[in-house]
């Protein structure tokens, strides 16, 4: 791997809420096509870290580089441009409730990328087809199932051509019978080489997709490594996955 393969690099991210340290110096280097998965107990800082990565929560300290260029997160203009390139998927979808699936995807294309209506529609159809929703484009979020909502959210993020996709427990708000369709879409993205940072409790995703697992606890990364080196008896990560397994009954 050469240096220019690095897409996103952050160093020493810290964040406290009301004096409680949530993140205590987290680093991350992400190469093109790489998939890093954050695991660990609730309250360990996974979600806060992901939201700090695109400054939805502004970190107390930390440096950012996108493709090795430093990002000044305090300049609004630079921040908006940076965020365009770092997409995000949320646990609870966060679709725009007053817009159809189609308009959810076209809105930012038109407002941010300044595409004309026709081009935006064409792009949205491509993205919605990719997630298998070409026949649902006219439906509003309240008319879609949870899995369909999350797929619209993924299409909406991908339409912006992000260089990195952050996923914050993308399946944990879904009924078990709806997680499959979202997992399939995520697998597809991985196959196409999308660079991702994901917090998830889905063992199957952790095992099969992760290039690197980061085990976070109390605001720091306490273990990291490939599934092969980390998911062996005796590690915190394996212990955590065992616990998930016994809860979900999912075999490894």
């Amino acid at each position: 791997m050469t240096r220019q393969d690095t897409i996103l690099r952050v160093e020493n991210i810290t964040k406290s809420f009301n004096g409680n340290p949530i993140l205590r110096g987290v680093d991350l280097t992400l190469r093109k096509g790489e998939i890093k998965i954050l695991v660990g107990p609730s309250g360990g800082g996974k979600s806060t870290f992901l939201q700090c990565l695109n400054c939805l929560i502004s970190p107390d300290s930390g440096q950012f580089w996108l493709e090795e260029r430093p990002v000044d997160i305090f300049s609004k203009k630079e921040l908006y441009r940076y965020r365009q390139q770092v997409g995000m998927i949320f646990q609870d979808f966060n679709l725009f409730d007053h817009l159809t699936a189609m308009d959810n995807v076209t809105l930012a294309l038109r407002k941010v990328k300044k595409m004309d209506k026709k081009a935006a529609l064409a792009r949205a159809i491509v993205e919605l087809s990719q997630v298998g929703l070409e026949d649902k484009t006219r439906l509003y979020p309240a008319e879609l199932s949870g899995g369909q909502k999350q797929r619209v959210a993924i299409a909406r993020a991908l339409a912006m051509d992000p260089k990195v996709l952050l996923l914050d427990e993308p399946t944990s708000a879904l009924d078990p019978d709806l997680t499959g369709e979202v997992i399939d879409v995520i697998r597809n993205l991985a196959k196409k080489g999308m660079t991702m940072v994901m917090a998830t409790h889905q063992i199957s995703l952790i095992r099969t997709l992760a290039d690197e697992i980061l085990f976070m606890e109390a605001g720091v990364v306490v273990e990291k490594g490939s599934p092969k080196t980390l998911l062996v008896p005796g590690t915190r990560s394996q212990g955590f996955c065992d616990k998930l397994n016994s809860l979900s009954g999912e075999g490894i």
Binding site: R83, F93, N94, L107, P141, E143
Partner: protein, 225 residues
């Protein structure tokens, strides 16, 4: 009895054209209140501490002082002092508009705060600016949610507009008072005046209910929110 009917028949066109003036005052006041109130709601939710404080003082002032006092204060005091030579109708419209703006600011603020915060975050992650997000995501939804409360506010402003007669604005109430004291037929004339207010209220509230239905987002409860 026939005499009363003749008087009402005589007075009706006069009272109805007062109804037009009332409708004009209320439309103007509600429009001014919408623009000012919406801006203040956005400022109060997303603005700096200083902005929030200034808006808070505005709302507190207009909520705390009776409309009759405000009408005198502005018509004979502030507008005069500023060298503005407003007609009674314009003055009433502006004062009612500024007052309803305070209440509307609270209506819209409540609606904005009731929206799930995640949508703002989602828009941010797509690279949308705060202003783009407020205009394209937040306000379209907040306005929909506000229609029932706004309709309520409309009926209150309509009835408050009767106070305009104290400044001599020739609206329904002023005309009814004039006809009643000339003919001594207080009861029938004020019943007719009341009916005109009632019909105006009913028509406005009906229209807003229809608007609410038209802009309802599919999939949400049929009863609206």
């Amino acid at each position: 009895m026939p005499e009363i009917i003749a008087i009402i028949k005589d007075a009706l066109p006069y009272l109805l054209s007062g109804g037009l003036i009332t409708a004009g005052i209320v439309t103007g006041a509600m429009a001014l209140g919408l623009i000012l109130g919406l801006s203040m709601a956005v400022g109060r939710v997303y603005g700096s501490t200083a902005v929030k404080r200034v808006i808070g003082i505005y709302v507190w002032f207009f909520q705390g002082v009776p409309i009759l006092v405000l009408l005198f204060l502005f018509y004979f005091g502030v507008f005069n002092y500023m060298g503005l030579n407003l007609s009674a109708v314009s003055a009433v419209t502006v004062v009612l508009g500024m007052t309803t703006a305070a209440y509307q600011a609270n209506i819209f603020r409540g609606a904005i705060l009731s929206l799930p915060q995640g949508q703002f975050k989602a828009a941010s992650t797509l690279g949308m600016s705060d202003i783009q997000t407020i205009l394209a995501i937040i306000l379209p939804q907040a306005l929909r949610l506000s229609i029932p409360a706004w309709s309520n506010e409309f009926s209150i402003v309509l009835k408050d507009s009767a106070l305009a007669f104290v400044l001599g604005a020739p609206e329904i109430m002023a005309r009814a008072k004039f006809v009643a004291s000339r003919t001594y037929q207080h009861l029938p004339i004020y019943i007719v005046a009341g009916l005109i207010y009632f019909i105006l209220t009913w028509a406005g509230v009906r229209a807003l209910a229809r608007l609410e239905k038209t802009v309802r987002i599919p999939g949400y409860s049929n009863k609206g929110i």
